[in-house]
């Protein structure tokens, strides 16, 4: 039993170590969202993935690629053959092609100063995972927030009251007026501000806003709805084998637990002779 005790303490210690207060500074953590595909029994919501694919093709693929995904593979989410052909054609591709953006690297570099990253693995490739992607898509200034920023920009000075109002919007410290001023200057210069991007400014202009697409299934295309759908789609592109993995995992674990209990029983029985 001493073995168990020590193991317990070690596991507890390992679990708590990362939570000891420490500051490295940097990005604001995007709030956690509900994802149906998480957890041991999570499944992809096919309708959501289908809607997300529509956004990916109509919006994201203007600049980004999903180079590991074939148009044809979207069939499993309820797209018909004709729809797939049409979607591929809208990007100048055929259904057997990978989902590669029509924008070439040279013109991307000219427009944005950077080649937009491939999105296939995006939900696995950033700290915060799906929550980060969702945070980025929804982390631009809303209309009302832009109003507050514009009002503050009307005169050169930023008052204490303005700073207090701006602080939660910019995720800034209200006492650091200089920092707030610098952020506002960059926003007025047309730089892309995002609450959750480390460093708060980056090359991607706001990709989604309310009503950006017209959903084929009639769902209301609010920013939140679209961000959730396209992130779900990206979670699928990042790991198309996710459901297969969990389904198999459940069976494997069930078997292992049963088998290990048997082994333990046999072990007790054999050792009974030794004691």
């Amino acid at each position: 039993m001493k073995f168990l005790k020590i193991a317990q303490v070690a596991i507890l210690a390992a679990a708590f170590i990362p939570q000891i207060a420490f500051s490295a500074g940097g990005a604001v953590k995007p709030p956690a969202q509900e994802w149906g595909f998480k957890g041991a029994f999570g499944k992809f919501d096919n309708a959501a993935v289908k809607r997300g694919a529509q956004i990916a093709i109509e919006v994201c693929m203007a600049c980004h690629s999903f180079k590991y995904i074939q148009f044809d593979s979207l069939k499993q989410f309820g797209y018909t053959e004709a729809e797939i052909v049409a979607l591929a054609e809208s990007q100048g591709r055929t259904k057997k092609d990978k989902m590669i953006s029509a924008m070439d690297d040279v013109s991307a570099q000219e427009s944005f100063g950077i080649i937009p990253p491939d999105l296939s693995l995006m939900t696995k490739a950033r700290k915060g995972y799906e929550d980060f992607v969702y945070g980025i898509l929804t982390g631009y200034l809303s209309e009302s927030e832009t109003g507050v920023v514009d009002a503050a920009l009307e005169d050169e000075k930023i008052s204490k009251a303005e700073a207090l109002e701006l602080a939660p919007i910019l995720h800034a410290d209200a006492t650091k007026i200089e920092h707030i001023k610098m952020t506002l200057d960059r926003i007025s210069n047309g730089d892309n501000f995002n609450k959750y991007f480390p460093g708060q400014f980056f090359a991607m202009p706001m990709p989604l806003s309310d009503g950006a697409v017209e959903y084929a299934d009639g769902t209301e295309s609010s920013l939140k709805q679209m961000s959730h759908d396209v992130t779900t789609f990206m979670a699928w592109t990042a790991e198309p084998t996710l459901i297969e993995r969990k389904t198999l995992g459940f069976k494997v674990l069930l078997y292992l637990v049963f088998f290990t209990i048997l082994l333990y029983a046999v072990k007790r029985r054999i050792w009974a002779k030794a004691h």
Partner: protein, 404 residues
Amino acid sequence: MSKLMEWVDARIPVSDMIKSQATEYPTPKNLNYWWNFGSLALFMLIIMILTGLFLAMHYKPDAKQAFDVVEHIMRDVNYGWLLRYLHANGATFFFIIIYVHIFRGMYYGSYRAPREILWWIGVIIFFLMMGTGFLGYVLPWGQMSYWGAAVITNLITAVPVIGEDLVIWVWGGFSVDDATLNRFYVLHFLLPFVIFALVIVHMWALHAVHSNNPDGIDIVDEKKDTLPFHPYFTIKDLYGIGVLLIIYCWFVFFAPNAFLEPDNYIPANPMQTPAHIVPEWYFLPFYAILRSIDFLGSFSKLAGVIAMVGAILVLFVLPFLDRSPVRSFRYRPLSRSLFWIFVANSIMLGWVGYNPADATAFDGALPLIILGRTGTAIYFGYFVMLFIVTAFKIEKPLPLPKSL
């Protein structure tokens, strides 16, 4: 069947070998569950070699293709995702097991006479495992693969006089590149078999001197103190493997990326350094020791490398530093306290290594570099203190039992 075995045994005595070294091999009856980790480590090595073999059938060590080919394995190869996740998480579990195995040896004095050579072979295996783990982490050719390789190989430049030329030789060029990936792949394929050979020598040495036990005393009466390996320890080891598989498979199937850095799903880009380069978790305490020496100006790098390598090399002299007449720390209260400080300190060093070099704890009150330096001092201090309390008979061991 028995006729066939007779024929074989007349030419090579297999049955005798199995009887004396496996089924009837006398094993101390008081071994506790910490002794399971040896067989667990062997089990993990076999899993790693098998999954690695099948991964190698699909992988291409080409800087232009490596990243994509890993995704090809994940998506297009039948159960490729399972092979890769078993292999990636297998490395983590292999190291967890090996660390427990080493700590067990340290606690029960398994490195003491007559088991010094057994211990040394183990330390060499551990060292090769670290090399193999590092080489393997480079193969997916993600950002952390690339920059981890860049940071670690750059340490070679700390070697006086020939360092600059040596690193070019290791890289096969003027930076980490295609040539580097190729040779790392070749070595990553080779080393596990070297490890496997050493494991056989490790077991040969073990069977020559026999297992230590929690009391750390010699077997007096083989009949009373030992049990045949089979069925007592075959079943106990199998039970241990069952428990390991449950935990391991839980990670493989439900949290396969828990030990992986998200940055490694970004293709390697020599033009863009990640904000924060971290090695795999199992290197973190040693990484912290490396970075803790930053106060020697231009000698810091070399001194850091020496400290890091020394942290492993010191294990070789451990059998001579420990002068106590008693092996097991069960009967050595002072050594036991030192040991637990050592374990806690190692975990703390790992945490320091995980954080950026300039990070602070407790709202800036405590720069982590201070913790790193203190931890490094405590790490080496363990070996010094162990020598002092035993060589100068400061520790009074408790009375030992007469037999198991």
